[in-house]
Amino acid sequence: MNPTLTAELRKLRATRTTAAAALVVAGLSGVIAVANVVLAGKEQNPPLDADTFQHIVRAPTAIVGFAMLVVGVLASAGEYRHNTIVPSLLAQPRRARLAVAKVLAVGIVGLVFAAASAVVSSAVGWLLLSSRGAPGADFGPVPSGLLVLGGTAALYGVLGVGLGLLLRNQAVAMTVALVWYFVVEQIAPQVLGAPHASTWLPGGAADAFNRLGDPAGGSAAGLVAAWVGGGLLTAYALLLAALATVVLVRRDQA
């Protein structure tokens, strides 16, 4: 494996925050699976049916994506906070390669997070559905659900890396990420009476992507087609990472 990529993966593995975030993601995936089964048929929730299992697998997508956004910011802006950017740049002075390695490493960790989430939610969901005598699961949409889960995790991680490299200050980068994720994309459109305002933003694109291959998903008002959403989210992640790379290459490291 490329030495710079190996170093980036080692960095993430040695950082306790990464392990803590993985445990939180796995735990919440289990809780969401329990909630999906226990609350089925109550209030406006659909009853247990053949689609329940694939919904359980893709339900934690937003949480895994958000966790990876945080991991991405910490992996990049954290380098400036702890001054580890200096040995990183000394070991790999070709800065574009360092940025690519960082993006790949966080993308790989995103896939690991998605796998951990899928394993826990599948196991918990399967056990609960079996114990309740639920109808046989339709596994057809599960691969697309896994693709959405892994893709969203990796792409949000890349968005976090781009944001962190661009802003450098970890507190500022984290604040921008949180404000964007919760306020700009979720609260502001509701408050301003324009619920579809985030259609073309990363969050709207991720919501659309999450419907890929979901038989119950269909087309929803205010969302683009699933494949367009996936492409849009990929474009946002790559554009931000490219911009951050250009800035990293040109900037003096005082």
């Binding site: 170093a7 960095k11 740049l89 000394l90 002075p93």
Partner: protein, 239 residues
């Protein structure tokens, strides 16, 4: 054996000139003390040499090659610019293994350098719990990982106890005797005088003098490095 060449090296930040037309050849097989008052431009010069800061003009090279063009930079040049370069949550061994991976050196070498700087028995401790002196030793271990021919060290004795200072002195001497190039900046001149062969002094970004410490002391009729430094930087100015 690698020599360091600075040629017309200049760095301007707006109207401020941090380093001004610096031209020097630093020979291998010697310890060169890099001296200057605060704000003289030593750190900026070292950062330009290591590719962290882009020169406004001029070049800083190792045997004619910029740091970024070296095939294996971390195995050619070892650098210590700041002791606080490791994540406080990482264990000492893990922190060095990250550097080892990117430098393309083995994990076995990590154990060697940890033992070499006297941190072998605390390798499992987190860096956040280290004293300044221990962090300095760890940063030095990081610089040595690639067994480099050239060392660029900014204030390596900061935070070291007397035993550590003595160890560093002998260590730098041994490296130079092996034919390596050592450029070391320090404000502890009495300490530095015991290990350097050559002296490079800059002030306000410009070269004041460069040469063998013994010759410079004789030429300026001084008996110690501190007197020579004060004489040249308070009254002399660039020559």
């Amino acid at each position: 054996m690698t020599s360091i060449q600075l040629h017309g090296l200049t760095k301007r930040y707006g109207n401020v000139t941090a380093v001004d037309d610096l031209t020097v050849d630093i020979r291998p097989g010697s310890v060169t003390g890099f001296l200057g008052p605060n704000g003289a431009g030593k750190s900026t010069t070292m950062r330009m040499l290591l590719g962290l800061v882009r020169p406004t003009s001029g070049t800083a090279t190792f045997d004619g090659r910029c740091y970024g063009d070296l095939p294996h930079p971390a195995r050619t040049v070892g650098a210590l610019l700041d002791p606080a370069i490791f994540h406080p949550g990482h264990r000492a061994r893990s922190a060095l293994r990250v550097v080892a991976a990117s430098a393309g050196t083995s994990d076995a070498r990590v154990e060697e350098v940890l033992d070499g700087v006297g941190l072998g028995n605390v390798a499992r401790r987190r860096v956040g719990g280290f004293s300044t002196g221990m962090r300095q030793r760890l940063a030095l271990a990081g610089a040595l990982l690639g067994d480099p021919e050239t060392l660029v060290l900014d204030e390596p004795s900061n935070g070291l106890d007397p035993e550590g200072m003595r160890w560093l002195r002998g260590f730098l001497r041994r490296l130079a005797d092996e034919g390596r190039t050592v450029l070391v900046s320090s404000h502890v001149l009495a300490e530095l005088a015991q290990s350097v062969d050559d002296v490079l002094i800059i002030s306000r970004g410009r070269l004041v003098t460069h040469g063998s410490m013994r010759n410079l002391l004789d030429r300026h009729r001084q008996t110690d490095l501190e007197e020579l430094f004060l004489d040249l930087t308070t009254t002399g100015g660039p020559s």
